[in-house]
């Protein structure tokens, strides 16, 4: 399994010289499974460049949406393969009692917000609600589960051979709870991330920023570090950077994260901030889980 970050930003695209290193595109992660199957996790503006990287030939790919906030679907109408008749796209996402996945996405891909309608897309596109049980795509087993965020929101776990990826970009696991002391089965998203080879997780707010954003559906640095430590992920990438944070601010946030991670007994190479364009090959757990790491 190969993983590439195409968009690491949260909330709204934030291009400019001050965000050029960590990137300004919103959430999108490309995954190439061991059998060659292609997945896109979310379709923020980062999916535009993912699409441009794909060869102009018959392609089948799956887009796994965590939720339908604009920063996770905005790139759909700029995804070049969607405008090729030879492309087959399966879009997975959370069910809602309000309307089907297709109808909810069509609110964005329709006038006046979009020049094209879903029915006008030349590709073969289908929409599927994620099942409650795990299912298979190519060589991977996929599991989706609801996680704490605003509105119906999923996290995903992708197991391909011995390696695994957990993707929980929008997540507030400590809302109304003490994540340090809560029992594991009562922590939102825990089973998805448990002992994952690679965890891509919400790290939007520095601790001082969090109190003004309580209940907005995102993690503080402390919460993200605690979640990573308790789940025992082999490697954690903090993701969904706040659009107001410049590269310099993210450097400082990353430095604080590393210092606290090291102070808690974590290994430096197991934690980093997500950078647009970064690539990973998740490996199976190579050492005991970090359950013994001290509280941060």
């Amino acid at each position: 399994m190969k993983v590439k970050l195409w968009g690491t930003r949260g909330s709204v695209p934030s291009p400019g010289p001050e965000t050029i290193r960590y990137g300004g595109n919103t959430s999108c992660v490309g995954v190439t499974l061991s059998d060659g199957s292609l997945l896109a996790l979310d379709a923020g503006t980062g999916i535009r460049n993912l699409g441009l990287s794909l060869p102009d030939e018959p392609t089948r790919l799956h887009i796994l949406l965590t939720h339908l906030h604009l920063d996770h679907i905005q790139g759909l109408v700029f995804f070049a393969p969607a405008f090729r008749p030879q492309t087959e796209i399966v879009i997975w996402g959370p069910a809602s009692p309000e309307a089907s996945l297709r109808d909810r996405i069509a609110r964005y891909i329709s006038a006046p917000l979009s020049p094209v309608e879903v029915r006008e897309l030349p590709c073969d596109v289908s929409f599927r609600h994620t099942p409650e049980a795990e299912w298979e795509i190519g060589s991977a087993r996929i599991r989706a589960a609801s996680v704490a965020h605003r509105g119906p929101t999923l996290g995903y776990r992708i197991d391909d051979g011995d390696s695994s990826l957990a993707y929980i970009p929008d997540h507030e696991p400590a809302l109304g709870a003490d994540i340090e002391t809560l029992e594991e089965d009562w922590i939102s998203g825990f089973a998805l991330a448990r002992d994952a080879s690679l965890l891509i997780h919400d790290g939007q707010y520095a601790d001082p920023e969090y109190p003004d954003h309580l209940g907005w559906g995102h993690s503080s640095l402390s919460h993200a570090l605690a979640f990573a430590r308790r789940t025992g992920a082999e490697r954690t990438v903090l993701f969904h950077h706040d659009p107001l944070n410049s590269d310099e601010q993210l450097d400082r946030l990353g430095e604080e994260a590393r210092e606290r991670w090291l102070a808690s007994g974590g290994a430096a190479e197991r934690l980093e901030l997500g950078v647009e364009g970064a690539e990973y090959e998740p490996r199976p757990q190579s050492s005991p889980p970090t359950a013994a790491v001290r509280a941060i």
């Binding site: 609600h129 609801s146 776990r157 709870a177 089965d185 009562w186 825990f190 089973a191 994952a196």
Partner: protein, 145 residues
């Protein structure tokens, strides 16, 4: 694939909310197991949830009652929480419960199911202790309605 069990998010969020309430509140899962009650409920019962832990319906029934107006145990199937989780509809009743020190408390209880895209995940019941000034349960021990 990770084999750790996971509570449904709806139960997790319900527990988080209940933890912040000063109203006694109880949470059961889809199988009727009592999986949480808050501090206010613990004060009413005389025992914190952490001391009790997850218990089945037979256990929590025998521990705390409830009893009708004549002191008879209310059948399990007629309790608001059970009606809510089994029938998928809200239910309300007034009855007495017994705390660990033997004291009886008159309460009104309202329960509602936690419905999700994947069906009923459990139910929440909120207990409203009645003042001892004659403002007892409106149904005086009636089963859930």
């Amino acid at each position: 694939m990770s084999s750790v069990s996971q509570r449904p998010l709806e139960l997790i969020l319900a527990r988080n909310l209940m933890s912040a309430l000063s109203t006694p509140a109880f949470l059961v899962d889809e199988g009727g197991l009592l999986v949480f009650y808050n501090e206010a409920a613990g004060m009413l019962l005389g025992k914190r949830f952490e001391e009790v832990g997850t218990v089945g319906p037979d256990e929590w029934g025998s521990m705390f009652g409830p009893f009708d107006g004549s002191g008879e145990p209310i059948p399990y199937d007629e309790l608001p929480l059970v009606v809510a989780v089994r029938n998928g509809r809200p239910a309300h009743a007034g009855f007495e419960i017994r705390s660990t020190d033997g004291a009886r408390h008159t309460v009104e209880a309202s329960a509602f199911p936690i419905l999700t895209a994947h069906g009923t995940r459990g139910a929440i019941a909120v207990f409203w202790p009645c003042a001892q000034d004659g403002a007892g349960p409106s149904s005086n021990g009636a089963a859930a309605r």
